[in-house]
Amino acid sequence: MAAPAQRRIIFQHIDEPGYSNDLACYVRNGGYEVLKKSVTRPPAELIDEVKKSGLRGRGGAGFPCGVKWGLVDRKSGKPIYLIVNADESEPGTFKDRYIMHQDPHQLIEGTMISCFANNVKQAYIYIRGEMPHGARILERAIAEARAAGFVGKNICGTTYSCDIFVHRGAGAYICGEETGLIESLEGKRANPRIKPPYFPAVLGLYQCPTIVNNVETLCHVKYIVEHGGDAFTKVGTPNNTGTRIFCVSGHVQRPGYYEFEAGKITMGQLLYEVCGGPLPGRTFKAVIPGGSSAKILRFGERFKGKRKVGAEMVDYDWGVEDVPMDFDSLGMIGTMGGSGGVIVMDDTVNMVEALANINAFYSHESCGQCTPCREGSLWMKKITTRMVHGQARNEDAALLKSVADQIPGRTICAFGEACSWPTQSFIAKFGDEFKQYPETKKAAKPVGAHELV
């Protein structure tokens, strides 16, 4: 079956020749019209549209945005904050970067609509430190929008006021985790908070109710408010509404970002047709579908079960290529859609070495607060690095698995899962390769293989 055409909603103007990131260009293309209309509507109505839309967060967890907004404590009398999570640091993810650099006003408009809907008086955009240009572009765009009355005092001539400030991170992945982000924004080490009691919706920034949403999520909000929540549900598939941006990297002919209706394209269509298939002379070996913490899939494995299609339960029997790229289908086969980062590995890659690369990332990025993540992530890194650069032992696969099993579900934040799922899934899917590694190591590397650790 041929891949569907891209449906560019969020990335409509990305890489469009002649499209610039200034206000004039944005307004020329109909920008801020949705905000102007929104501020004349009752805020509750806007929240309802988002609820109806079924929009799921694009930061990684896929949590329904309307439900999140519904959890906000509006009775506390404290100010409500909104934070745009622009930390984009899950390896394999590179979508928010283009929105912020090329179409910042889309984000600002989505943010202001969300702020108005939730009676937010102050918003912050937490952008990762390694995007200095992005931060400057956003600051300039906010200044333009402020001058034009779209941000700041008396928005669009109403009595509603809300400002946005840009806040730069400084190179710590854990600032993407929402409570780590809040700590960082408060000027501290980005140590995630325990939940309970510190749910952002109740005790977030400065212990006030706080909404944290991903950049892309807020752009979707603009689209939803413009076209209506019901219209949004017509895009994509049930429970996986709207579009998804896939960031494909690694061993494909045409890596890059592609926006499709959620669930309307399969992994195979995406990788073979859209991305042009494997590099010449190679075959696909494995793919991580939702950022590096998502569990890896092995080409050749099959997934069987029953799933709901409409009102019916139907059998499915999928290879990796057949899996529809949506939250639920990917969840069903034991991995996740996550942030949309699709990392592809071909037959030149040794899985021990790939895991060693990933483990080095997570052990470097653990905040170090809680014992299982802090010690487990470094232990796994030490094992895999030793396997590659020192002595590899037959028993290392079992040891790795057992160490990884002691982490998830026992930590303060979901980094515990993020750092252990790679090891768990690599061993589960490629355990043979780990056991053989002491021998593999002695042999010559495949042509074209790169050093990974």
Partner: protein, 161 residues
């Protein structure tokens, strides 16, 4: 601490962005680092006084975030991405190429002080791997040839100074 008037002005401005002064810790550290090139030893006490904190609160932050540095670096800062997508397309070789070009090692200042090369984690541009951030500018698809070309450019610019 000897900061430029413009830096001091930005510092006072950015503090007004937050209802709680402590929030300005990261912004202040960025501003000082941009001005001085690194965070000199007196930073902790200076920022602490400015934001009504204790110096240890600032030191804890400086050492948590890899972008903050307590020592001077080379005139140019080359950050090569180390993470999976870049490594799959030769990120390690790219880093080695830079090291060779400037006769230095990652984490060190090159002889003559022209560059510091760091091997950093994912820069969120995995689709154009391998990527390299030189000062504020992102360079995409930096294979060894391109690394050499970028190095030559840096060397040429250095000569002109």
């Amino acid at each position: 601490m000897n900061l430029k008037p413009a830096t001091l002005h930005s510092i006072d401005e950015v503090i007004t962005h937050y209802p709680v002064k402590r929030s300005a810790t990261l912004p202040l550290l960025h501003l000082i680092q941009e001005d001085v090139g690194y965070l000199p030893p007196e930073t902790c006490e200076w920022v602490a006084a400015k934001l009504e904190l204790q110096p240890i609160n600032v030191l804890e932050v400086i050492t948590f975030y890899p972008m903050f540095r307590q020592k001077p670096i080379g005139r140019r800062h080359i950050k090569v991405c180390r993470t999976l997508s870049c490594a799959l397309l030769g990120g390690y070789k790219t880093c080695e190429q830079f090291e060779k070009e400037f006769n230095t090692h990652r984490g060190e200042v090159s002889p003559g002080g022209e560059v510091t090369i760091d091997f950093v984690e994912c820069l969120a541009s995995c689709g154009t791997a391998p990527v390299v951030l030189i000062d504020d500018d992102l360079h995409e698809k930096v294979d060894c040839a391109k690394a050499k070309q970028l190095s030559d450019q840096i060397k040429a610019e250095a000569k002109k100074r």
